[in-house]
């Protein structure tokens, strides 16, 4: 049975669909996070180099992965919006940004927490952390540009273009920073060279990454719903909803 996906490109049909799907993703996220944290905190063996403090990677690495993945997804929605002119694409991109920024922040913060017991400093200018910092600026720039432009349609398109410029630049920035880091290899070992991976550690990280992904989907669906309500407030279907109370 062929599904007419296009009909979900309209905010009006997407709204109820997202409302039904979001709780499931949230539940999945909770379950996976529980499993992942259990593995990370109790099952995975103690690292013989770093002791127990290494366990922060079960938060740090999945957060870093998600922050980068979400930027690419966000930029993809922006590309779709610019190419096809579908309003919902732009709304989706806007919904993803805060969660992406949050993961970037978590990656930075957990990286810092890892650094303190391991290397004695709260911050290390290694390639990965520095790139994450720059990625945070890119996310904030996207949200700031969108917020600064009054006309919503123009804001959508401007921020979308910025996201595309950003996504093209991210590899360039990453390799520049990585190269810069090798140049100044005075600071000992890279913070992100994870301890040699026992299989359980890898499994734990993957499960946490999946949990983060499910959470990201759930959060974005909830957020896009409120964006839809805000923007389509003048439409009849919104005014008839119980949520739209005035």
């Amino acid at each position: 049975m062929a599904l007419n996906w296009w009909k979900y490109a309209a905010p009006q049909t997407f709204y109820p669909l997202s409302g039904r799907l979001a709780p499931w993703f949230l539940a999945l996220a909770a379950a996976l996070a529980a499993a992942g944290l259990y593995i990370g905190l109790f099952v995975a063996p103690t690292d013989f180099q770093q002791g127990e403090s290494y366990r922060i990677i079960f938060v740090h690495v999945p957060a870093a992965w998600m922050s980068m993945f979400m930027y690419v997804v966000m930029a993809s929605w922006c590309a779709v919006g610019l190419a096809l002119g579908t309003r919902l694409s732009f709304m989706m991109a806007l919904a993803l940004a805060p969660t992406g920024a949050m993961f970037t922040f978590i990656a930075l913060w957990s990286g810092s927490l890892w650094g303190k017991p391991t290397w004695g400093t709260w911050w290390v200018w290694d390639a990965r952390l520095t790139s994450e910092l720059i990625l945070l600026f890119l996310y904030i720039g996207f949200m700031a540009l969108h917020a600064a432009i009054d006309d919503v349609r123009r804001a959508d398109r401007a921020a979308a273009l910025l996201a595309l410029v950003g996504v093209v630049n991210v590899p360039i920035i990453y390799f520049s920073v990585k190269w810069w880091n090798t140049l100044h290899q005075g600071a000992s070992v890279s913070l992100t060279r994870a301890p040699s991976m026992a299989a359980t550690m890898l499994v734990g990280m993957l499960i946490m990454a999946l949990a983060a992904w499910m959470y990201a989907i759930a959060a974005s669906l909830y957020r896009v719903r409120s964006i839809i309500l805000e923007r389509e407030a003048h439409a009849d279907w919104v005014r008839q909803m119980p949520e739209a109370s005035v």
Partner: protein, 227 residues
Amino acid sequence: MKPLALAPMFASVVRRDLTLALRRRSDALTTFFFFVIVVSLFPLGISPEPSILRVIAPGVVWVAALLASMLALLRLFAPDFDDGTLEQLALGPQPLVLLVTAKVLAHWLVTGLPLVLIAPLLGLQFQLPASALGSMTLSLLLGTPCLSLIGAIGAALTLGVRGAGALLALLVLPLYIPVLIFGAAAVSASTEGMPAGGHLSVLGALLLLAIVFGPVASAAAVRIALG
């Protein structure tokens, strides 16, 4: 009266912008003096000791160039946007990409090239050896057009926006980082007596990328700002 071909149109825009810059010299001079002053602040804030100066010089000059370039970008499209001439450019029969390139070229000639020319003098203030001065000039010569081309995208995106200056910084400075890294590295390498050719080649590659993609993105951003 005759219809104009592309090259004369391009030249006409460059000439117009250069004429305007000449008549309102304060803009170009502000950028220039900002650059010089910012560079001078660092020895005052850090240390005047020659060995330290030599180490910080590449980064200091390059960061100052980034900031100066960014300040100057605020005058790239905004005046034309405000008085309606940008619309006319967008509605002309010639490709907007071409005209944007012309504007960025004129802008660089007025705000970027002077930095390239004064940098060696500043390098001397920082006790850089002669070889490093050459690298510094070359790196800025390759890098400042990059900054103008990349920055133009941000300048176009923030047209007519409140607080455009600070927002422009947020948008554009992260994108400047690769240019900064390789530009400063070229000068550092020369200071330590090592070849800077590799770094300068990367800068050249970045410039090529910027020339090819920058105006396309800027023109798209201008159209978004106008619509």
